[in-house]
Symmetry: C2
Subunit: 260 residues, 2 copies
């Protein structure tokens, strides 16, 4: 069964009231993909009554300049939430810059402070991709305990937060990456696969068992060969799966963090 993430995101959107909150989005020389993601957020924002402010910064900005800019934008009282659009240029120390975001405006849960609160079960919000996965698991009554769960990729936006959350949910979790000698050895026995590598078609039908649940959190193109559909019991496609839900969860976080 293919999950219609876009439809679920629409349903959630109808329950969200932006109330004039302001979301700052900082982008450094955004490429076409980043521009597309920013546009999606702007569109969603407009539809629920959130005002967006886009700060576009030049490619040659230094780590310290960008960190200072982040702190400045973060401290502007009217900015209720702050997003740093990733990835950044290679020369920038990403985590250091992310740490310029004040924890209670960090809707993406990427600063050390916000991530620590999340990882220790002490946060009122979850990383957007985790919330998106949680919604699907709740909707389709997927219990993660007792399951053999494989997380493919350990990146900042998908694998790491997903693995951290699943471990905290007392799931059995294996985290794979580009150095794993043979990922199919793991994926073949998986009850649930969460993947966010950005490698199109990495997961193929012969690497999975019948009835597996696949959460494809690839970005522009899926990590998963769409032919898995025949074997998977649940499958989030790209586009139209986790992506739109993750965008919705960014705004749910913004509203949650600004609840009085």
């Amino acid at each position: 069964m293919i999950i219609d993430g876009k439809k679920i995101a629409e349903e959630i959107k109808n329950t969200l009231r932006g109330g004039g909150l302001k979301l700052a989005i900082i982008a450094v020389a955004p490429d076409e993909a980043s521009k597309k993601f920013i546009e999606k957020k702007e569109k969603f924002a407009k539809e629920i009554g959130v005002e967006t402010r886009i700060y576009e910064l030049p490619q040659d900005i230094s780590t310290s300049q960008l960190r200072q800019k982040m702190a400045e934008i973060s401290h502007i009282l009217e900015n209720d939430g702050v997003i740093l659009q990733l990835p950044l240029p290679e020369h920038i120390k990403t985590q250091y810059v992310l740490n310029g975001i004040i924890a209670n405006k960090d809707v993406d849960v990427l600063s050390s402070r916000a991530f620590g609160d999340f990882a220790t079960g002490h946060s009122k919000i979850l990383p957007p991709v985790v919330s998106a996965i949680k919604i699907i698991f709740e909707k389709y009554k997927v219990d993660v305990r007792n399951k053999n769960i494989i997380v493919v990729g350990a990146g900042r936006l998908v694998g790491k937060p997903a693995a951290t959350w699943l471990i905290n949910q007392e799931a059995t979790v294996s985290v794979l990456n580009e150095f794993t000698p043979d990922i199919s050895k793991f994926t073949r026995d998986a009850d649930i696969i969460v993947t966010g590598t950005g490698k199109p078609g990495l997961i193929k039908p012969d690497m999975i068992k019948d009835g597996v649940i696949i959460i494809d959190a690839g970005s522009l193109v899926g990590d998963v060969d769409p032919a898995v559909e025949k074997k998977a019991s649940l499958f989030t496609p790209v586009p139209g799966g986790i992506g739109p839900l993750t965008v919705a969860m960014v705004f749910k976080n913004l509203i949650e963090l600004n609840r009085k």
Copy 2:
């Protein structure tokens, strides 16, 4: 080969200079095991010139009273480091209390703030058990990439920090817990096993392959049947393995956090 953690810890001890630093240890109605661990820390402290202050609190203290006490002790200028001896009585919200420790005095890296810095690669210290494992891996030239690593248990003191660190080291890591249907399915293929469950003899010789590296971070009694020695290429016993090294690393952290 059995690793002599006590001997390595002694070598490290000889390189550490406490310089009169003060370490506060808070314990709530400590049982015999906790008292023993506190004594080990006091002894180590004395030998390197660190002054310890033990605060013993009654069993019936409430979460909010304890949190306030933690904050007080944490803010005493002369206390250079603060330890909350775990476990706490059942009725106490442990993470909330741990968050009363100021991050730069948190030698155990257990507050949300300190853990977040560690998990995002932004900390100058590591959780003591992680440092202990790292020392062994460095000494015996164990490369964690490309290896199949199994972490048994996902507790606050061992499994969670070890898994977080290994994932950040780009290792392939599976985290198991008490709900995992069959842990031997995982341990049989493991190149490295890190275990910290507190279940004596959980890992038996027929559950591992020849040449495996086993880090037993059980506390009073090992998680690992000592008979694994015949099959393991490296093995940290209990007592005398990870334990003494972890104590040494607490003091290394104390010194590191107070370096001017």
